[in-house]
Symmetry: C2
Subunit: 200 residues, 2 copies
């Protein structure tokens, strides 16, 4: 989150930003900003603030965005397409090296610059292309079986759009995004407005 805003400021040519400015920018407190950043190092200059451009670079390094990550997308549906077309994705060094589906009607079709491949080749390709990240955009019922396969093939992180909790060994990172759940959160907020002390 810090990185996103810092890059925006950097793009506008702003050279420094104080913790106060950053805090109001994304809805937190100056103390929080300073504590967060201090846990990775001492980036600011007293009396002046944080150097926007330099701090951006530092954060990119911390996040491991200096290198290229090879990504496979599993499930040639709308979600995968949205991701692959998304600039903020390729701009960060995430390169799609394969798109997979098990629907014969989709296999072989053009899909952006790639062709949709058959899921049976998944393991082979993951190993050959050295992909470490997988985007999972398939039905919930199929998710766990596919996860087991790709982990064996060498995948180490999964961005999961299937509405299912995945069982993985502890050395595998999983981030699950569930759009229905996000909307349910909004429904809750709308339903309980006023009862609470104002949900933001």
């Amino acid at each position: 989150m810090y990185l996103r805003y810092l890059e925006e400021l950097d793009g506008r040519g702003q050279h420094t930003a104080s913790s106060d400015e950053l805090a109001t920018l994304f809805g937190t407190t100056p103390a929080q900003v300073r504590k967060d950043l201090s846990s990775f190092g001492s980036f600011g200059k007293r009396g002046l603030g944080y150097p926007v451009h330099e701090l951006s670079a530092q954060l990119r390094a911390i996040l491991g965005l200096g290198r290229e990550w090879r990504v496979v997308i599993i499930g040639a549906g709308k979600i995968g397409a949205a991701l692959a077309n998304y600039h903020g994705f390729t701009d960060r060094g995430f390169r799609v090296v394969g798109v997979y589906d098990n629907n014969p009607a989709k296999i072989g079709q053009k899909w952006g610059e790639e062709l949709v491949r058959d899921m049976v080749d998944l393991e082979r390709d993951v190993k050959r292309d050295d992909a470490l990240i997988a985007v999972l955009a398939i039905p919930a019922d199929d998710a766990q079986a596919v996860v087991d396969r790709i982990i064996k093939a060498g995948i180490r992180a999964i961005l999961n759009f299937a509405p299912a909790q995945l069982q993985v060994p502890s050395h595998i990172s999983v981030k699950t995004v569930n759009m229905a759940m996000e909307l349910e959160g909004l429904s809750f907020a709308l339903t309980n407005m006023g009862a609470d002390k104002g949900a933001a």
Copy 2:
């Protein structure tokens, strides 16, 4: 999250579930489960556990899922399409009452069961259809201007896919989903593996 698993158990015909069972099911502790649920009421039976079907119903009520929420989708791209096609969306009572874009090439096109409408009609339609929730899937630069417009028209909650922090009055709920950020989190986890005590 609780609701998702309880409905799954319910579908399998399971009548009760203990906090212990629920905890292992979605990776937390029994104490956490009991504390969480107890903050909304006293649903369990001692010696037996929680009644799966009844608790599901209670949670749906708490989340405000008993009613129909009318939703407008702004931006007739892949993300909006993915959402509208998604069952977990309509099944929860979220009904799409309009899809909007400002691209003349898209306006009037068929889009699921709806036609893509012109953004200039957004305010009028939101008021007329009494939509309270908006899904924002448009470029970051346009996001704030659109948000200002739809809030004036009566929108009270926003699911935001634009990579931008939205400024809204405190009575408006916003949930921002940023796919690039999720991937950056995975990149960080991969980069810092072993240094930490094993990121889950």
